[in-house]
């Protein structure tokens, strides 16, 4: 799967599952500051990623994920 395909899936999840405004979900958007996804929300996001992509994500892998783009790259590397 191409990176932009992963991004589209991620964006769709954010809009459909979390109720986020589609315009706000860009590769550069910061999860906490721009999208108001707090520590509880991150857990939800991870669950949604795991279900959507059929993968498992460990907590340690999330340490460096602060933007949508970083999440997309992490997912892309695991597919």
């Amino acid at each position: 799967m191409e990176v932009n395909e992963v991004f589209e899936k991620v964006k769709n999840l954010f809009v459909e599952e979390l109720g986020l405004d589609a315009d706000k979900v860009t590769m550069d958007a910061k999860l906490e500051e721009d999208l108001e996804i707090d520590s509880l929300g991150i857990v939800e996001v991870v669950m949604a990623f795991e279900d959507e992509f059929g993968i498992e994500i460990d907590d340690e892998e999330l340490t460096d994920v602060a933007t949508v783009g970083q999440a997309v790259n992490l997912l892309h590397s695991k597919l």
Binding site: L18, G19, L20, E36, L40, V43, E44, M47, D51
Partner: protein
């Protein structure tokens, strides 16, 4: 030090009769029932298929899906009612209310629907798929915390869970806080949205609910010979209460004074009221004493009046014990006949009904009261509202667990 006087300066409510205070009051005095067939889930397996539901309220539309997802429905309703109450009190919603404002909310069963959903997910998909927001939705203090966050309430916060007396206890404890100078203002009230297939089944198992499935609007008939149980309801009602000095300083309009609070415990049985309503009698007496009035000063009683055989009989007996001969003259009504039982949200709703009765000099009726029980022989304002100049109103709330909370409100 003399106690400070406590006033009500703001009201907000969303309940089966209306999504704001004005619509609610109009329907109350017109004797409209807010009870109907349940629409929010399939009832085909259930012994009871009707309840008082909040209508035309979409939380996603009201607060946006991203925020709505974080709360249980009881939380959505409490935010909505609080917003109305704060606006009504003339407070600026853009400003944080700060540390001189407290919050005391009551709820019976908190986010029970969130609990049920999480258990269902656990059973179907296992522990790694349980909603990470489950705890923050289901904890009974969820609404208290979310309302505090939304409006910046930084003073003391309490969540009271004394079943169907919860929000009456909340109003009473808020009164104590203000009277004793702990804070100048308290946002208080209650919320409940506990009508689920499981709770209906469980309440029905103990024969607490009316089973008049064919006639939901006529099912809740407090003090009537044909009454057969209470009707589940949902809703949130919020009061802004403050010291008289604080209200005057702000130039806020005063609805009424909160002058009496009496709280007791039956210590008798977990669901049944004590014989003759002994605990209720003591709570009424304590509220009257706290208000520094005589029982004969009471013009209107908003009864607990659940429409269960046991409550209505025992509450009637308790009123007679407290008021003596005057019990036959005092005007009583049960607004639950129209809303159903709002459980932990009931005491706050009925406080609002009492306050509005004082303000409008009008008593909402007890609807569906056509054939009074011989053991219920007082004036319950059957079927039609009455005009009445009210100086003092009393509101009774009693909960499973044997909790009794009685409040007294005065015009001035």
């Amino acid at each position: 030090m003399s106690k400070r006087r406590v006033v009500v300066t703001g009201l907000g409510s969303i309940n089966p009769l209306g999504n704001n205070v004005q619509d609610t009051w109009d329907n109350l005095v017109n004797g409209v029932s807010g009870i109907d067939h349940i629409t929010s889930f399939d009832t085909s397996e259930l012994p009871v298929t009707f309840a008082g539901e909040v209508k035309n309220f979409d939380a996603n539309e009201y607060m946006g899906k991203q925020h709505a997802r974080k709360l249980d429905r009881s939380g959505h309703l409490s935010i909505h009612a609080t917003e109305e109450a704060l606006k009504d009190a003339g407070l600026d919603l853009e400003e944080r209310l700060g540390s001189n404002v407290g919050i005391v909310f009551g709820t019976g069963i908190g986010g029970i629907a969130a609990t049920e959903n999480a258990v269902r997910t656990y059973d179907e998909k296992g522990p790694t798929r349980v909603n990470p927001l489950a705890i923050t939705q289901l904890m009974p203090n969820s609404s208290t915390g979310q309302v505090a966050i939304k409006f910046g309430i930084e003073g003391p916060s309490l969540t009271i869970t004394t079943a169907c007396a919860a929000s009456a206890n909340a109003v009473g404890e808020a009164k104590n806080m203000i009277e004793n100078g702990i804070v100048d203002m308290v946002v208080t009230g209650g919320t409940e949205s506990g009508t689920t297939p499981m709770t209906i089944a469980a309440f029905a198992q103990i024969r607490a609910l009316s089973t008049k499935n064919d006639s939901p609007k006529e099912a809740c008939k407090p003090f009537d010979k044909d009454r057969d149980g209470f009707v589940m309801g949902e809703g949130s009602t919020v009061l802004v209460m403050e010291s008289e000095e604080s209200a005057n300083k702000r130039g806020a309009e005063i609805y009424a004074y909160v002058t009496g609070y009496g709280a007791t415990t039956d210590a008798y049985h977990i669901t049944a009221p004590a014989e003759g309503g002994a605990g209720a009698v003591k709570a009424m007496e304590k509220a009257i004493e706290d208000a520094e009035i005589h029982s004969s000063d009471i013009d209107y009683i908003n009864a607990h009046g659940t429409s269960t055989p046991a409550n209505d009989k025992n509450e009637t007996e308790a009123i007679k014990t407290v008021l003596g001969e005057k019990a036959y003259e005092v005007v009583i009504s049960s607004t639950k006949s129209m809303t159903g039982h709002l459980l932990g949200g009931g005491g706050a709703f009925e406080s609002m009904a009492s306050i509005l009765s004082i303000k409008h000099s009008k008593v909402p009726p007890t609807i569906n009261l056509n054939d009074p029980d011989e053991e219920c022989d007082l004036n319950y304002t059957p079927n039609n509202a009455v005009d009445l100049s009210i100086n003092t109103a009393m509101s009774n709330s009693f909960g499973f667990g044997g909790h009794n909370a009685v409040l007294v409100f005065k015009k001035s």
